[in-house]
Amino acid sequence: MADAMQRLIGLLRQLPSVGEKTATRLVFHILSSPPDYGHALAQAVADVVERVHPCRRCGNLSETSPCSLCADPRRDQSVICVVEKVQDLLAVENSHEYRGLYHVLGGALSPLEGKGPDQIRATELVDRLGSEVREVILATSASVEGEATALYLKKRIEQAGVRVSRIASGIPVGGELEYIDRGTLALALSGRREMS
């Protein structure tokens, strides 16, 4: 096999869930496509690496800094939704339920992985809490680390005199009660609210 092909296969294999076989198939596919496709792919990869960077305010990935979400004057500047990853931000954004600002931590507190407050942009978050911000929504995951992160951030944000809320956990829409595990059900019960 040509050296250039070997090299590309080796690089593709480093991608998540791509093995030797898949990588080889992808390379043959690229070679059998019109040359324009290969050039466009290479250029797109280069552009992503060159142009996309974390927004220095919220940590969202963007070609501009501040990012388009931070720069949008129509968004509610008084609420910040805190998430672990950019993927989580996109998930919240796709719900179309939220029109405030974001803060991407880049992970959760994880002593086992050596991640402390300095690695999750905690101070950057507290620094954003000016007079305009009235509420911070903690949307970290429901894992042990995500929960501990929420508890930690709560203390620091409350010191700054800002209201803190946590997204509700519980029963998924369309979920059957009998298949919900006890822990989730207990959370859903303790977090119940009056019907409107």
Binding site: P111, L112, P117, A148, R156, D181
Partner: protein
């Protein structure tokens, strides 16, 4: 309910085969290293999706194979259910009959097992870790969510310990966050264990009395590994973690918590660990095991398949006799392994089907 058939392929040293099991007692005879325990482990995997030997999935896939395939036919009042399980490759895949199952909880309800190994027989005199393991497995039988809670608790505990060990100045606010989570999950774990000890005690005592007429009364007492009040509350555990923080920082380890939970087994008020003979200790353990099975019947209407790995040879003939008698009275199916050829003859009257296990092959005798 019983298992009528088990199929294995690509599993440890077992050759691809189908094993027809009988109701009642199934005895597997063979030398060490031939695959007896692997059969019990495969059944355990089919039931609970994990090994009783704390093995990872890649350990159970036979050398040179990509996946291990397990199958079982369960008969419940004559109604068959077929389970299939593929381990390895792109993860784990489950089937009930022809239907691919994505919800693990739906799969887990099909049939339950209680496993019992020589380690367990040493439970009375061994360290508390074995007794906690026994408790957690038994609680899991009644409430599968217990396993999740134990894992969450352990993650919180390991995180807290890792923070205590850090050389740089500890961030107390971060430690506190993990202490809070540890208290939340941990108190629930301790409560489940304590509650289980209470439920099982009268049954274990009655079974022991039945096994040994002269035996003194068996008592079980749960001992929380932390400063717990009557209700084992999250608030009390959190308070204990806060109170022990200074010492924990010095020792670089969490000193109190459910990781120290234990339960004491006593006979006529005396610690069985210190005062009972080895034979009496083993009878206590057998009584505990049978009490679990009896409780599963009483509370869940469930007859778990009992897996006894190399245990019968550790019991003297009288105790073995009693164990088998009580098991058959409970109506549970039993899978026993032994290296002792003599047992085949000794147990002839009580065994419904016998198998010889040699080099990964299982043949009915």
């Amino acid at each position: 309910m019983h298992l009528s058939q088990v199929q294995v392929s690509g599993y440890r040293n077992l050759i691809a085969q189908s094993i027809e099991l009988s109701e009642g007692v199934n005895l597997f005879v063979g030398n060490n290293g031939q695959g007896k325990t692997n059969i019990l482990e495969a059944v355990h995997f089919l039931s609970s999706l994990r090994s009783f030997r704390a093995a990872a999935v890649r350990d159970v896939i036979a050398h040179g194979e990509d996946v291990a395939q397990l199958g079982a036919k369960v008969l419940d009042d004559g109604l068959p259910t077929e389970l299939k399980l593929i381990l390895g490759g792109s993860g784990r895949r489950l089937w009930l009959g022809q239907r691919s199952i994505s919800n693990v909880r739906e799969y887990l309800g099909q049939f339950k097992v209680v496993a019992f190994t020589p380690d367990d027989l040493a439970m009375v005199k061994a360290g508390p870790a074995l007794r906690r393991r026994f408790l957690d497995r038994a609680v899991f039988l009644f409430s599968p969510a217990h396993l999740t809670r134990v894992r969450q608790f352990q993650t919180a505990l390991r995180s807290r310990n890792s923070l205590l060990k850090q050389r740089k100045k500890a961030d107390l606010a971060v430690i506190d966050s993990f202490s809070q989570k540890m208290a939340e999950y941990g108190a629930e774990v301790s409560r489940a264990r304590c509650d289980f000890v209470r439920r099982i005690e009268p049954r274990a005592a009655a079974i022991l009395a039945e096994m040994e007429e002269t035996s003194p009364r068996l008592d079980l007492r749960f001992k929380a590994g932390w400063q717990a009040g009557e209700d084992l509350s999250q608030a009390d555990l959190y308070q204990d973690l806060c109170d022990s923080l200074d010492r924990d920082l010095l020792r670089k380890q969490t000193s109190h918590g459910p990781q120290q939970d234990d339960f004491e087994i006593s006979l006529a008020g005396e610690s069985a660990r210190r005062f009972a003979s080895q034979g009496q200790q083993r009878s206590c353990v057998v009584a505990l095991l049978l009490a679990v099975v009896e409780l599963a019947d009483a509370e869940l209407g469930l007859h778990p398949v009992i897996l006894l790995d190399d245990v019968s040879s550790e019991l003297d003939p009288d105790r073995r006799q009693q164990l088998l008698g009580l098991v058959s009275k409970l109506g549970s199916q039993l899978l026993i392994t032994t290296t002792d050829e003599g047992l085949v003859g000794d147990m002839a009257g009580q065994v419904n089907r016998r198998f010889r296990v040699y080099a990964g092959r299982v043949d009915p005798l």
